[in-house]
Amino acid sequence: MNRVMINPKVHSLHNYRRKTTNMIMLVLAGVSTVIAIVPLVWILFYVIIKGAAALSWDFFTKLPTPAGVPGGGLANAVVGSVITVGIGVIIAAPVGVLAAFYLLSSQTKPFGQVVRFATDVIAGVPSIVMGIFAYTLIVLPQGHFSALAGGIVLAFIMLPIIVRTTEEMLKLVPNSLREGSLALGATEWRSSFSIILPAAFNGVLTGLMLAIARGAGEAAPMLFTAFGNPFMSVSLNEPIATLPQTIFVYAISPYKDWQAKAWATALVLIVLVFSLNILSRVIIWWRARQLGSGNR
């Protein structure tokens, strides 16, 4: 029998070192967490305090006043953001989900690999480049800025996020469900939409929210496409104001009143994205309740 003898003295020293290392790493991890969280909380509180001060009911109901004239609101930008993001989602969501199904079914095919790689590249393209692209593709031929161009550029930005998150979520659905459906004589299409998509619904919805949050916060590409508009507009063919673009214009303006409104706009933007996330949680919770407990 070969038994390693443990020297009690050496052992206790070693043990001491192990415990110290553990303690140091624990403290480091804790400090890093704080460093990561502090700016987040700070930004949030700063925006809430600064923004809430300039926020009133008028913000949502009135139109901007000329510089120097107090009062007024940014109803046009709220409406504009909803319209452009809405166009973006309407275009990007179906295309993205269908593309994700294609990628799922062609995991190993060369074309699938190419599409996946291209999607990752597009996701990494700076949004301002997307803006210039949409500018040359849509705005120049049309001869004017438009809400539609803004919506389309947002669709470009959202698309890769939707494709990749949806694909990952679809991958998580056990293959046995797909087989179960196919074994009953269902087609691929039917299995995908009746079984796989509902099973992955929560994840797909979360990915969609991520894409919306990203799109709703884009200012740079909007300068090239939707441009901005001090008046209320619901026309897809006219320039339109959006929240991020308004923040940009108002924040760099020399007017105290506009700067305050930029803070309020930032707060509204955050609240908007936040409430969308809450809404998606509520939908998920409601669906789970419909099916009784135990459904994920």
């Binding site: 046995s176 087989e179 179960g180 074994a183 004589g185 079984i195 099973a199 099916l291 009784g292 135990g294």
Partner: protein, 288 residues
């Protein structure tokens, strides 16, 4: 093809020496054949997974496929409803004849195959939908929409699967809320709902506890009156308990790893008087 070649009675040379006749072993003297597997070879790309398999699967009987892991039992089972079509680069030689028609013939509708040949999987895989929707999923695929008809199918299928009494008051609950054994019976009900002729079971009880396993086995006995059942199982006791016929498969050699049929016979014969040395070694637990 010479038709009579496949209609000859099963040859059991050692039977006479035991003082037995055919009818002692086979409940009905000469059963109808539901599926004829003829010289079936299956390739995944260049890999030959099944080699030259010929089996007659009798109607309204339970046929078990046994053999060591990786011998192609599941592959053979899945070729009976063309689930292997889903694997890229699969190629098949030979024929699988369901009621006189080759299901691999060009133009034969794969949807039709899968409706007539249902399948129950190793792990229960209820859809994340209500119990009711799980059962009606198949009938809806084939265009049934009337609520009253669907209600009838749900009740009938769940009764056949011996699950009705346990779930009749919670048909709108998710199928995922049921226990493992209940989920597997739900999957059986789901397969029954499209009125198949054959039910394939791929180790249907391997993920279940002994009580749930027993329920599934009892269920199989009642189902065989109306359906032809083919079951793949790792569990030799299970094969001996539930099946009427048994096919024993093995790989031909460790290099090529092609699954071959070693012996096919009535179940008592396979387990008590195997004709092949390999079968005997396997069923007596000397390997595998």
């Amino acid at each position: 093809m010479d038709k009579d070649q496949f209609n000859k009675p099963v040859v059991l040379p050692k039977l006479a020496s035991l003082g037995l006749t055919h009818s002692d072993l086979i409940p009905s003297v000469e059963p109808d054949i539901k599926i004829k597997i003829r010289n079936l070879s299956l390739y995944y790309g260049k890999f030959k997974a099944l080699g030259d398999i010929t089996i007659d699967i009798p109607k309204n009987k339970i046929t078990a496929i046994i053999g060591p892991s990786g011998c192609g039992k599941s592959t053979l089972l899945r070729s009976l409803n063309r689930m292997n079509d889903l694997v890229p680069n699969t190629h098949i030689d030979g024929q699988i004849i369901l009621d006189g028609e080759n299901i691999y013939a060009p133009g034969f509708d794969v949807v039709d195959v899968r409706r007539r040949v249902g399948m129950v999987f190793q792990r229960p895989n209820p859809f994340p939908k209500s119990i009711y929707e799980n059962v009606t999923y198949g009938p809806r695929l084939y265009g049934l929409r009337k609520r009253s008809e669907l209600d009838g199918i749900v009740e009938h299928s769940l009764k056949q699967a011996a699950l009705w009494d346990e779930v009749k008051d919670k048909l709108n609950q998710s199928g995922m809320t049921l226990s493992g054994g209940q989920q597997q019976r739900l999957c059986i009900a789901r397969a029954l709902a499209v009125q198949p002729e054959v039910i394939l079971m791929d180790e249907p009880a391997s993920a279940l506890d002994p009580v749930a396993t027993l329920k599934i086995e009892e269920l199989m006995q009642s189902l065989k009156e109306s359906y032809t059942i083919v079951i793949v199982t790792h569990n030799m006791q299970q094969a001996a308990r539930v099946s009427d016929f048994t096919a024993f498969m093995m790989i031909d050699n460790p290099q090529t790893r092609t699954g071959k049929l070693v012996e096919f016979n009535v179940t008592p014969q396979i387990f008590t008087n195997p004709q092949n040395k390999q079968t005997e070694d396997y069923v007596t637990g000397r390997f595998g």
